[in-house]
């Protein structure tokens, strides 16, 4: 449990049962998910030469989702054909994810385990996802080392997180937690937010090569998120390659 903060884990355990309610505590993730999925599916398909129009475009690829929560990302990845392992330090989230995958008739290997422990066992994957998690991690350097170790040479690490800007403080902390009440208060500690340059530097230090950055922007009018290569001021994604 080296890089996991116990207080942070407890918060998500309380949320676990309500992961799959699109209007529940995870509603912001449900709203964000199509946008994240478009980007991630495209990055993986491009890296491994897959056609997204095919029936199982990610067939034969192994993928680990670090901080999988209730499985909002793991299930779509399994549906696209990937062999998916989901990790979450909160056993409540893992239990919720297992129950939902069974009801969805999907085979996903969920484990209440840390990235470090899995990496230490020698497991390696074509794709490692770490989404909306790095801002909750206590020791960033060790966490990135584990992500790198979990990824096969030639594979991808894809991260998403919140930028540390005035805009993210206004929108993610004050807006989402206090004004819109999308998230329970105290979900985010703004001081832990990471700028894209800091994230890229941490990846480089762990032996990963950052290859793409993408912003995600919420439009209050349409109620939808869209990808934006220009605006990384609040939510953004970073894709890294593990050199072959």
């Amino acid at each position: 449990m080296a890089t996991v903060d116990a207080a942070e884990v407890a918060k998500f355990e309380a949320m676990a049962a309500r992961w799959w309610d699109p209007e529940g505590d995870a509603a912001p993730l449900h709203r964000l998910n199509p946008c994240r999925l478009d980007y991630i599916a495209e990055q993986i398909a491009a890296q491994f030469g897959r056609d997204r129009r095919g029936r199982s475009p990610l067939a034969g690829l192994s993928l680990v989702d670090v901080g999988c929560g209730g499985g909002l990302m793991a299930e779509p990845m399994a549906r696209l054909g990937a062999t998916v392992t989901g990790l979450d330090a909160a056993s409540g989230a893992v239990a919720a994810a297992q129950a939902h995958a069974a009801a969805s008739r999907l085979e996903i290997d969920y484990r209440a385990e840390t990235a470090e422990a899995l990496a230490a066992s020698g497991a390696a994957f074509d794709v490692t996802l770490a989404l909306e998690i790095v801002e909750h991690v206590a020791e960033r350097e060790a966490f990135f080392a584990a992500l790198s170790a979990l990824t096969k040479p030639g594979g991808l690490v894809i991260l998403s997180t919140l930028n540390r800007t005035a805009a993210s403080f206004a929108k993610a902390v004050v807006g989402a937690e206090y004004v819109l009440r999308w998230l329970p208060r105290g979900t985010h500690d703004w001081r832990r937010f990471v700028t894209p340059d800091e994230l890229a530097a941490a990846a480089l230090a762990a032996g990963l090569t950052p290859v793409d950055r993408m912003g995600m922007v919420f439009s209050p009018l349409s109620g939808r998120w869209r990808l934006s290569p220009e605006d990384l001021s609040v939510n953004y994604l970073l894709t890294c390659e593990k050199p072959g």
Binding site: P22, H30, N33, P34, L37, D38, A41, R52, R53, G54, R55, P57, E75, P76, M77, A78, R79, L80, G81, T83, V84, H100, A103, S104, R105, L106, E107, I108
Partner: protein, 409 residues
């Protein structure tokens, strides 16, 4: 690692909307079962039965994107202009408004296509597609959904498992009703009388609509010197006309064409059905999407029924294809909500717009007449309004799905 399904999507209803949905969804990469209660023979009948569709340009583009339009175009009659008249039967006035199709970027803005050509073309394309299985003469008995899919029981005793069921089974869809969907229904007290006529004078590709006190009367150009007649009339009067012999019926038609087409002869059958507006409260239910007349049936005043159905088809195919390419469960409520959000406003607006237009025009009250005469004059004089009017008639209001732009998914 998805569990095995008999098909990704099961469509109930093999009419033009259901068949077009099957083709669009298969084009998007889905495997489809098309469950059609009618036997194939009645669908492929080659005789001209007097019925035709007025296809908006967006509908032609969708049929083009699905590879059907090339074969159909030689049999279709482009509509080069629309003329609007009013008056009384036997006393038609001069044209109040004329809209030329070449004022638009992509003329013609609509095309007439006889039902007998569209139906076989759709069914042949369905039969030729490796990812569609067409079950003719088979009905859906029941659909039961669970967290991972929907079980569809057929009257053959077979049971199909799919991710999503589509109700394309027409007005007041039985499948949607069993899922608890309700409709707001508004009868017009009118009956639609439909037939086709051969005529002496050429129509010149012009569609003519006369607004009579009993309801609108449309003369829509077909290939050769023939026109489709779509006549909406107060039900009591329509029943009287429908009971006449062919000669008497034709005399009533001639009274209303006002000599614009010269001498007339009936071609094919005569059709009558009561007109009502029906709009589903919801276009989706758990693991069920409604489209076409199942979701909304409108007055045929501007031939929008099938065009609206194709707009549903294009939006549904695009939403589901996008969802599948990102790994979402295509029967998930959040995915279906996107389809409903895209379509419901447009369909409701169209239904209510047609409803208001019909009520405005189907009367002989002095002040209302003056108002609509002024309204038509305003449209005639204001090019922007006129373009907007045509744009709606051509199906281009709101955000446009890719298929309606003729683009692949």
């Amino acid at each position: 690692m998805v569990s095995s399904l008999d098909a990704d999507i099961v469509i109930a209803g093999g009419g033009p909307a259901g068949a077009a949905a099957a083709l669009a969804l298969a084009h998007g990469g889905f495997s489809v079962r098309l469950i059609d209660p009618r036997p194939v023979e009645t669908r492929a009948a080659p005789e001209f039965d007097g019925r035709a569709y007025a296809l908006a340009s967006a509908s032609m583009k969708l049929l083009g994107a699905l590879g059907l339009w090339e074969g159909l175009a030689p049999r279709a009659q482009p509509m080069s202009a629309i003329e609007i008249y009013d008056g009384r039967p036997g006393a038609i006035g001069p044209a109040r408004l004329r809209i030329d199709g070449d004022g638009l970027a992509d003329a013609p803005f609509a095309t007439l296509l006889e039902t007998r050509f569209l139906r076989p073309a759709l069914l042949q394309a369905v039969a030729a597609h490796p990812d569609i299985r067409h079950d003719a003469g088979v009905s859906v008995v029941e659909a039961r959904q669970d967290g991972a899919g929907v079980e569809i029981a057929l009257d053959t005793g077979e049971s199909l498992r799919a991710a999503l069921a589509v109700a394309a089974d027409g007005r007041r869809s039985a499948l949607a009703a069993r899922a608890g969907v309700g409709w707001t229904v508004r009868p017009y007290g009118q009956t639609g009388l439909v037939c086709a006529v051969a005529h002496e004078r050429p129509h010149g590709g012009v569609a003519r609509q006369a607004f009579y006190p009993g309801g609108p009367f449309a003369m829509l150009p077909l290939p050769g010197d023939r026109s489709a007649i779509v006549w909406s009339e107060r039900t009591r009067e329509a029943e009287r006309v429908a009971a006449l012999d062919d000669a008497g019926y034709l005399a009533e038609i001639a009274l209303r064409t006002g000599g614009l087409l010269g001498g007339l002869r009936l071609e094919g059958g005569r059709w009558a059905w009561p007109l009502e507006m029906a709009l589903a409260y919801e276009f989706v239910a758990p693991r069920l999407a409604l489209l076409g007349d199942a979701a909304h049936s409108v007055h045929p005043i501007a031939g929008q029924g099938f065009n609206l159905a194709l707009r549903d088809v294009a939006a549904l195919a695009e939403v589901l294809t996008e969802a599948r390419r990102r790994g979402e469960d295509v029967g998930d409520a959040a995915v279906l909500a996107r389809y409903q959000q895209w379509r419901r406003f447009d369909a409701a607006g169209m239904s209510l717009g047609m409803d208001a237009l019909t009520r405005l025009f189907s009367n002989d009250v002095g002040p209302l007449r003056a108002l609509r005469d002024a309204g038509l004059g305003l449209v005639q004089r204001a090019p922007a309004l006129k373009r907007a009017f045509v744009a709606v008639a051509a199906g281009r209001a709101g955000e446009t799905p890719r298929l309606l732009k003729g683009e692949a998914l």
